[in-house]
């Protein structure tokens, strides 16, 4: 059986699944339930100066009958008194000494405030600090959260203040509400942060109530941009993660991956692109803490199947497979193939290809079932038919190289090879 225990900056946890700084981690009651359920660690909901929240705070995007494909919130940092939070953090650490306890922080924008709060948190026995430079709503208007993360210079300054006072490992959490996370990432690594975590939520409008004509979440006839998260943001998070994992400077520090992780598969993908562990929130908010059971079991079974003994055996393994477009092999070609034994004649491949792609599928009329076959000479290998086919492994992409040797776009141009062959 594989070893799924995690060591992040010396902070140990029985598995790489932490709960992200968010409502599920804002008090002892929830955190103890999470630890009992089996979560490896938590990042306690952001502490800072006292705030006041509004109602409602959340909204969601449903898709195809599934609830909460995407989720957004306009909740602020912890609205509980600081001393109660600190007391409860200490109690949780004592009750579950084998779990990771990280505390998220967002002090006011002055050195003294940061130093004071760090001192107080370190006295709780917590194992690490996470700097919230990412919250995109409410706190930004006050010059905090994403307002810090969006400006590499300010971020650098704050991290320098933090590093003066902190004795615990420091993780800096990055905002995705930027063109690239790399400038801020580099800046805070230079300033001494021990690790990075990403992504925080993305500014969003999830939808509009078509009766009231007011967007969600609804607060007395008004709404504001909320932070978007959940399964919908995973691809964006993976992209930002890759840019951090590939940058010469930022790749030197460990990364905690965040953004739409709902299953062990999602977690593995983040780790393959360089995350040392992962943080989860929306999936737990939708289903409760029990989801960690399958995350652990699924990860374990996958590692056994692939022969990975520890997490380090596969962390970062896919980072180098994401390259520049110019480096792709133009001589690689594959063609769709429809397995007639598996085909259920739904015609979805046909209509997708016919209307929106390359008219590469032949329709042989039948009543009631049509027969669909690939026009091999027309197929550009775009995958669309395979993606829309509802039957697993019915449409496969078969390799038909144009030529055996590797050739990329730059070389292709250099040699003056023909364009527009379709």
């Amino acid at each position: 059986m594989a070893d799924i225990s995690s060591n992040f900056l010396g902070i140990k946890s029985p598995n790489p699944f932490w709960l992200a700084s968010a409502p599920p981690t804002d008090k002892k009651y929830n955190v103890l339930r999470a630890f009992e359920a089996g979560w490896g660690g938590v990042v306690w909901k952001t502490l800072g100066s006292q705030v006041k929240n509004v109602s409602s705070r959340y909204s969601a995007v449903d898709f195809g009958g599934q609830r909460v494909m995407g989720f957004n919130n306009i909740e602020l940092i912890s609205d509980r008194p600081l001393d109660i939070n600190l007391k409860e953090i200490a109690e949780c650490v004592k009750l579950f000494p084998d779990r990771a306890m990280i505390v998220s922080l967002m002090a006011d924008n002055d050195k003294k405030s940061w130093h004071e709060i760090i001192k107080k948190v370190e006295d709780t026995g917590a194992h690490g600090l996470e700097l919230n430079f990412g919250c995109p709503h409410g706190m930004t208007e006050r010059g905090m959260g994403a307002a810090v993360g969006q400006d590499p210079e300010i971020a650098c300054m704050v991290v320098e203040w933090v590093m003066e006072a902190a004795t615990l490992p420091v993780i800096t959490k990055l905002t995705p509400n930027v063109h690239s996370v790399v400038p801020t990432g580099r800046s805070v690594v230079k300033a001494g942060t021990n690790a990075l975590s990403l992504i925080n939520t993305i500014q969003s409008v999830t939808g509009i109530d078509l009766d009231t004509l007011v967007p969600n979440p609804y607060v007395a006839g008004k709404s504001v941009f909320g932070g978007y998260c959940g399964p919908a943001v995973k691809p964006i998070a993976l992209k930002f993660l890759t840019t951090i994992a590939q940058d010469e400077l930022t790749k030197k520090v460990p990364v905690s991956g965040i953004g739409g992780i709902s299953t062990w598969k999602d977690a593995v993908e983040f780790m393959l692109l360089g995350a040392s562990n992962v943080q989860v929130c929306t999936a737990a908010m939708k289903h409760g803490f029990r989801i960690v059971e399958d995350m652990c079991e699924g990860l374990n079974n996958w590692m056994d199947e692939k022969g990975f003994k520890t997490l380090d055996d596969f962390i970062g393994k896919s980072v180098d497979t994401i390259t520049h477009w110019e480096d792709l092999d133009i001589n690689y070609h594959h063609i769709a193939k429809i397995n007639q034994d598996k085909c259920i004649h739904c015609g979805l491949c046909y209509i997708a290809c016919e209307d929106t792609s390359h008219q590469s599928i032949n329709l042989e009329y039948g009543k009631p079932y049509n027969k669909y076959t690939i026009k091999e000479e027309e197929c550009v290998g775009c995958n669309l038919c395979q993606l829309v086919c509802p039957v697993d492994d019915c449409i496969t992409m078969e390799e038909h190289r144009v030529a055996p040797e590797y050739i990329n776009w730059i070389e292709w141009q250099k040699r003056g090879l023909p364009l527009n062959d379709h």
Binding site: G64, G65, C346, Y369, N370
Partner: protein, 446 residues
């Protein structure tokens, strides 16, 4: 003993409860709607005689465009509400659903169709706008599915339609010939009224062709005539004892249940039902639900050849009806003029007949069933006398039409059961549409 009033009101109500309950709410409908793959050139649509765009109307439920969904259904099938309750969907749309090929449950198309159409009827959505009258008049004989469908199509185009109906209610066999646990008399009335709400259609009730009206008069007074008069008389068994008290015709039996109320309809202790079509099933199950102790269905061929669907057979079997395959009625025995037994011949299958089905052959061996009631459901016979009497070309009473739905008499068109000898409601609706199109062409209306 044959008697009525066998059960309490509560028992009747329970026995004749809606066999396919609707969705409780839109959330439930959307769960199934979202399962639909939205097939292209969908097999379900191709398997519907009226070609309802099934993927489209289901998608419209998923997007909560229920009005649009109902419009999609009614555009193809103006009796889409009734068809959602009575269609043998397991051999039509649902039977063709691609999920069957994955060995998964098909999309409950009928139930989804019922959802949208019921909403439309409840809210009296006017989904079609009749064009201004163009001064053409068409007479339709029969306010059944074919006649109503034809009338609606014509009225939409601004033609003034008069329907002559021999019964006192519209709907035809939908109203008179289908089990009460599928459609209630109230529903049938509502459906007819909903169809008529487009305007431009007048139904004259209790007007029977050959009695109160004549084809010649209709031809004289209207620009075209459409015959959607259905089939009528139950096929006779032509065996001794058929006139004994206790031998009844399935159509009458079903009609009475719907017309008079459950408690009024007498039923035997031990009932034999002859036939294995949809009507036979409706008669057998309802005899059981009225309180008959034993119901036995007899069919001269086997399950392979039966006209009803497996789904229908299952309803009968779950109701506790006994089935005897390869048995044909030979003689009804009676005492004091009342049925006491049915003598049957054991059959075996021989060579395929004209229908392609293997035909039953008498083995000479007989057996006797102790029964006090015999329900005849061996098919219905066309109004041969009426049709021939009016000089309409026919084949054993079934009106012969050309590809333009025209009979041999100029300006007289026909469709539905009167032509095909008795098929599904949905087939008759399509026939009505085809008839309307043909009449429009005949009247040179674009």
């Amino acid at each position: 003993m044959i008697k009525n009033n066998r059960l309490s009101d509560e028992q009747y109500a329970e026995n004749f409860n809606d066999i396919h309950p609707p969705y409780e709410n839109i959330t439930a409908a959307k769960v199934d709607a979202n399962r639909c793959l939205f097939c292209y050139d969908a097999p379900c649509m191709k398997s519907c005689p009226t070609s309802i765009d099934v993927p489209k109307f289901i998608k419209q439920i998923a997007t909560e465009n229920i009005r649009g969904s109902a419009h999609t259904i009614f555009t193809s099938n103006i009796m889409g509400a009734g068809c959602s309750k009575v269609c043998p969907v397991e051999k039509l749309c649902e039977g063709a659903c691609v999920y069957n090929l994955l060995e998964e449950e098909p999309i409950p198309i009928a139930k989804l169709q019922r959802y949208s159409t019921e909403k439309a009827m409840q809210n009296q959505w006017q989904l079609f706008q009749r064009k201004q009258s163009i001064g053409k008049k068409v007479a339709i004989v029969g306010a059944g599915p074919a006649g109503l469908s034809c009338a609606h199509s014509l009225s939409k185009e601004g033609i003034d339609v008069t329907i002559y109906e021999k019964e006192s209610k519209g709907g035809g066999l939908m109203t008179y010939g289908i089990a009460a646990y599928k459609v209630t008399p109230q529903f049938c009335e509502d459906e007819v009224n909903y169809i008529l709400s487009i305007g431009g259609i007048e139904i004259k009730y209790n007007q029977e062709l050959g009695k109160n009206i004549s084809l010649v008069d209709l031809q004289k007074n209207y620009d075209a005539v459409y015959l959607g008069l259905g089939v009528g008389v139950a096929r006779q068994l032509d065996i001794p004892g058929e006139d004994l008290v206790g031998v009844v015709d399935a159509i009458n039996f079903i009609y009475n249940i719907r017309d008079k109320g459950y408690a009024e309809v007498p039923v035997g202790d031990k009932v034999a039902v002859i036939g294995m079509g949809m009507t036979a099933i409706d008669a057998a199950t309802q005899a059981k639900r009225l309180g008959a102790k034993e119901v036995t269905m007899l069919y001269r061929r086997t399950e392979e050849e039966m006209p009803c669907t497996k789904h229908e057979l299952d309803i009968a079997m779950l109701d506790g009806c006994e089935i005897i395959w390869l048995a044909a009625p030979k003689e009804v025995k009676g005492v004091d003029g009342k049925v006491t037994a049915l003598i049957c011949t054991k059959m075996q299958l021989g060579e395929p007949d004209a229908s392609g089905r293997r035909s039953p052959v008498d083995t000479g061996e007989t057996f006797s069933l102790e029964v006090d009631m015999v329900i005849k459901a061996a098919g219905q016979v066309p109004f041969e006398e009426l049709i021939s009497g009016n000089g309409i070309k026919n084949s054993k009473g079934k009106i012969v039409i050309d590809e333009k739905c025209a009979t041999n008499i100029a300006g007289v068109f026909a469709g539905g059961d009167a032509v095909n000898g008795g098929k599904e409601v949905v087939d008759a609706v399509q026939a009505g549409k085809d008839g309307a199109k043909a009449i429009m062409a005949y009247l040179n209306i674009a």
